[in-house]
Symmetry: C2
């Protein structure tokens, strides 16, 4: 009976992009999160150790949006050996009024990439100095590129340095950025070298040991740490918590999955300490950066609310553009 | 690139049914659960109070199966007013080796109905008396019919009594059972009357207050309580816990969602008390019924492992029968 819209990665790439609208969409999402009415259960996580895989399921209901998404993100880390990508996934969009399936978004992780990068732009807009011209990117993967691209939407970025464990990948990344984003970019021999004198640092690795220490930092820098989205990942040394003002996407989540989780484990922070969320800064409930020499740190773990927001946007855009196939579910 | 198989409810109804194979499939599933290697995270639950809705997400990895399912079950209880069914849902089947999406099962809850009923048959096979001839059914919904039908697959059922809050529905149910299952069936004016002298009782309501008390029971009866799958549902009075030997589908889950949860709240059972799971009875780790006059109670809340098992069976059957549409996810 019901008609379901099926959108492929191709359809989605044709109607949503990393642009000002995507950043606004995420900003609205963080604003909603601060309102206290978003319903966002803890992430469901299934580990398949036997095949070096895991699947995370995220969801949230945002009052005011007509639909909500359930996102399934499998990561199977032996896939490259089989010639397959590690990360895949899809989202299912349901009507928030009836629970009926409205759309299947077979995005292979594209929408997650998009909303994660857009959230980096939101963090920069509200926490970094307005005159942010130089960026250090730690990591050389998909997000390393998208985060930098997102930053150019909100700050007058002119140049970047990059560090990655694999120096070949760092060099390839630099070449790609020069070509695609026309930025002045250089590779650095260490994290320490990469971050010297830059205005903004974004960490985008799956590291499970800290890469960035307090001693690497200089006054006025903003750090967006977006690599840690599972318990074992960790990019930021615990001594950074004393050097920087800490912000996060969702407090209940970073306590378990984010950089904060490691600081709590180390006894540098306590489990019940309250830290501000990005949304609270946006709605003016909490002050963001208070001085140009303050160091700020934003810990982004990725929320189900962002998935609902981007999926709702993507479905509307696809509909308006006449993209996708209608499937009669019988 | 990847080809995804899309199976509608219609396709699925043409290739899987409530039969001996479905019961075996569930029996294998409970056996696997007893083995200790199944990975089954807690249920993710999203409540949308504003629209009287909730969505549960269940999943599990069963070693030995090539795929695993993630099931999304929305229940929106104002839907009947809009002429829509309350319960819907779909399952996504992933490769357990690569995490790639293999199939979308747009079953609208059909597979859940099937596996829930088949689990009732498994509970009866291992816990009820072999000479179970009479059944009391509490409730008159979809499961009221399917549970009775499932019981006929494993026990020589000849007659049934039914009680439902709505007497018209009970009468309609009795007529349906007479026609479809050719059983001798009568309606009862109360739960107490319905269960007098029967061999097996199955409770299938969404009640949030106990319907069955210890005083209603007689020696040798088996009770399958399958209505409670959320915290607030409750069919079995806590005094039944003293009268009956208690079994469950998954201990960690019934402590939070099942009838046991209410017994714990009432102080009749303790949260750390260990009760046997159905799977442990099947593998011979724990004794089931020890005497013909023993009263047994099996608390079924529905597990993600059952969803993975039935989805894997359904996809194989659909493939063999050439059913479904292939969709190129691009």
């Amino acid at each position: 009976m019901a008609e379901i819209s099926i959108l492929t990665e191709d359809d989605l790439r044709r109607c949503v992009a990393l642009d000002a609208d995507a950043v606004s969409c995420m900003e609205d999402c963080f604003r909603a999160l601060a309102g206290g009415t978003v319903v966002m259960p803890p992430i469901l996580s299934l580990a398949i150790a036997e095949h070096n895989g895991e699947v995370d399921v995220k969801t949230a209901y945002i009052p005011g949006l007509d639909s909500f998404a359930i996102k399934m993100s499998p990561g199977f880390f032996d896939n490259p050996r089989l010639g397959l990508p590690s990360v895949n996934g899809l989202m299912v969009l349901f009507s928030a009024r009836t629970g009926l399936v409205e759309a299947l978004l077979l995005d292979n992780g594209f929408l997650t990439d998009l909303r994660t990068a857009a959230a980096g732009a939101v963090a920069a807009r509200w926490l970094s100095r307005e005159d942010t011209r130089s960026v250090a990117v730690i990591g050389a993967g998909v997000q390393a590129k998208l985060q930098l691209q997102a930053l150019t939407l909100v700050r007058p970025v002119e140049r970047a340095t990059v560090w990655a464990r694999d120096t070949d990948k760092a060099a390839q990344y630099a070449a790609l950025i020069r070509e695609d984003l026309s930025l002045d970019v250089s590779t650095a021999p260490s994290v320490h070298d990469a971050v010297q004198g830059v205005d903004l640092i974004v960490t985008t690795t799956p590291s499970d040991a800290p890469l960035l220490q307090a001693a690497d930092l200089s006054p006025g820098q903003h750090i967006t740490a977006m690599g840690s989205d599972t318990e074992h990942k960790n990019e930021i040394a615990t001594d950074v918590f004393s050097a920087a003002s800490y912000f996060c996407d969702r407090l209940t989540q970073v306590r378990v999955l984010g950089e904060l989780h490691h600081a709590i484990d180390a006894g540098v922070c306590t489990p019940d300490e309250v830290y501000p969320e990005l949304g609270q800064v946006i709605v003016g409930e909490v002050r963001g950066r208070c001085a140009s020499d303050e160091i700020t740190l934003c810990d982004l773990t990725g929320t189900g609310a962002q998935d609902t927001a981007i999926a709702t946007l993507a479905r509307r855009r696809a509909h308006d553009a006449g993209l996708g196939s209608l499937f009669n579910s019988g």
